[in-house]
Point group: C2
Amino acid sequence: MIAEPVPLEAAWRWIEANAPQLEAEEVDLAAASGRVPASAPIAGADVPASACAAEDGYAVRAEETLGAAPYNPLPCAVVEVGDGPLPHGAAARVAAGEPLPPGADAVLPRDAIDPEAGSRIAVLAPVAEGDGVMIASSELRAGEPFWPVERQRQPLRPAAIGLLGAAGVWRVSVTRQPRTRILIAGAPVALGPMLRALVELDGGRVIGVDPLDRRQSSAEHLVAGVDVVLIAGGPADGPEMEVRGVAIEPGCQTCLGRANGTAIVLLPGLPAACLWAYELVAGRAIRCRGGRDPCLPYPSRCLRTTRKIVSTLGFTEAVPVRLDPDDRTAVLPSPGSRPPRLRIAAQADGFTLVPATSEGSAAGSVITVWLFEPAAARDAGRG
Amino acid sequence: MIAEPVPLEAAWRWIEANAPQLEAEEVDLAAASGRVPASAPIAGADVPASACAAEDGYAVRAEETLGAAPYNPLPCAVVEVGDGPLPHGAAARVAAGEPLPPGADAVLPRDAIDPEAGSRIAVLAPVAEGDGVMIASSELRAGEPFWPVERQRQPLRPAAIGLLGAAGVWRVSVTRQPRTRILIAGAPVALGPMLRALVELDGGRVIGVDPLDRRQSSAEHLVAGVDVVLIAGGPADGPEMEVRGVAIEPGCQTCLGRANGTAIVLLPGLPAACLWAYELVAGRAIRCRGGRDPCLPYPSRCLRTTRKIVSTLGFTEAVPVRLDPDDRTAVLPSPGSRPPRLRIAAQADGFTLVPATSEGSAAGSVITVWLFEPAAARDAGRG
């Protein structure tokens, strides 16, 4: 029953082969933030479709403002134009983003006018054609993509949401979120909230966090209606496992299997081992199914280790680190602890991975560190 | 009506004085991920309270396994102990995280036994006292804090959730999320989804995204029941504004005011200007009220600019950048565009800020860049 653990890279290959990207679904633009686009959509029309005001002010014909100055105010009628053209000698109030009326070719900012009584203003400064104007198609031309193809695996950010909104796109095609079942089997129930938090950070949708009912634990039953199953403290004698052990430390009891084409990840029951097994193995399955970049979802840095790191050959070892409070180019690796402790992970700023082929790193050497928080991932001396 | 814009740092000081941290509320541990703790809680008891199994296996008395070997298997009865002590000469099946029965002092891993018929196993290898055991209080001692005080402004990560769960803490005191009203006034309605996405990334709770009804726009009415109000394309002649313009580009029309003690931020109506005004000014109000680190919520990097950056003295300028695809230590700043464009922001990997006192940076100089995505914030040559 106990097999040789496979290298971490082999576990990753298994996941990439067995946790394929899910199909697309359409969601409202207001719910699309953080979702992963299923394609690089193409603008159906120019954005903006016609020249717009770039700021609040008064749409005018630029040539009619020539010579205006505080000592030579040019009176001007403010008109409501509706959809019609701007009459000569008149100005129309416009808000930023609004189309200019036909005939107008510049926007007078509010500090270039003197609001006179009634529906008149005095122009105090000239504007040139195009001043205060966002010209047609200056964001996007019809047929251009909204973002480059290489950005496709990245969750939608607010600026992309704004650009889609500006183009009038109100429904977006995104990769479905992996429905994830979390089962706790012979492990502390306290693992449930931690695993839920991990899955949600990787864009998964948690369907339930439940104790494993061994009477109902046929592999087919476990995978019904979900895209990934995580079992903490799972019985390796349960569903058919294809990978029995991954050469990582902590977390070497991690197993990978399938039922009806759905990936099942068995995680160790010890909380700290479960955490690292999720970070190094299970999270990748969630990210792959959700169409995300499979790599670790943390910024990385090359930093000096202030202490020697000792690691076991043959195992990829996750070593929590803290930033050196006196030198932000250095980290203090946690001294190894067996069994691994959750508190060390909770108090860490990030972690390093010692490859299976390495016995560790000497004090002073530069290592790659993944950092949990933006605040931790700030370059030295800047904030 | 048009006043001199204040420096960005003065706007930040106004926000820190007028957008104070909200009160604490209690939430379930399962909903606490990403929330900001309102205090650094203290462990009420040792974690774990007694020695636990660090892996799945058989709890034994270590001294009774002396001499066991594949050629000298020691037979051993497997017993159910309930809450009672482990009988001499027996083993009790335990799962990782479960307390050891009194008397047991080691856990035999599954590959150190031969499962014999019925309720007997054969021990194939000796274990030493403490092997496979997580000793009492090895995570936390009663009275110790769950995390250092300096981590207090950071959203709760999964490891902290796990540690709280391991200690049996099922309710957590967190800072209330700022209830945020978004009003669209004389600006494209397309701004709504973008502003919602921005507020949610900063931990705010969006109460509504609505057009500003000018008949109901008394300042007191706008702030009723919420902690922050954002008005895009807002009329500077509306609620009483204390800061009329912030010296940032894009976004210099940003205004700050209060009604009944609640902060109101007026954002420009042009989508790209609105985005940058949120990033540089309004987001800080959301983060301050929610008890987060007020700084920009992105990892920063010191990188070389491949092009000269030209900026206007007197304004802090946000310049979108893309990573150089051929050299990950360098960025390509976007050529300045007036009016600013949302597409450039949507396609950027991050941005740099040119201080108001600087006219820009020469090509080849090192600048601080904030990066949107973990993938972008990876150190050169590593992934």
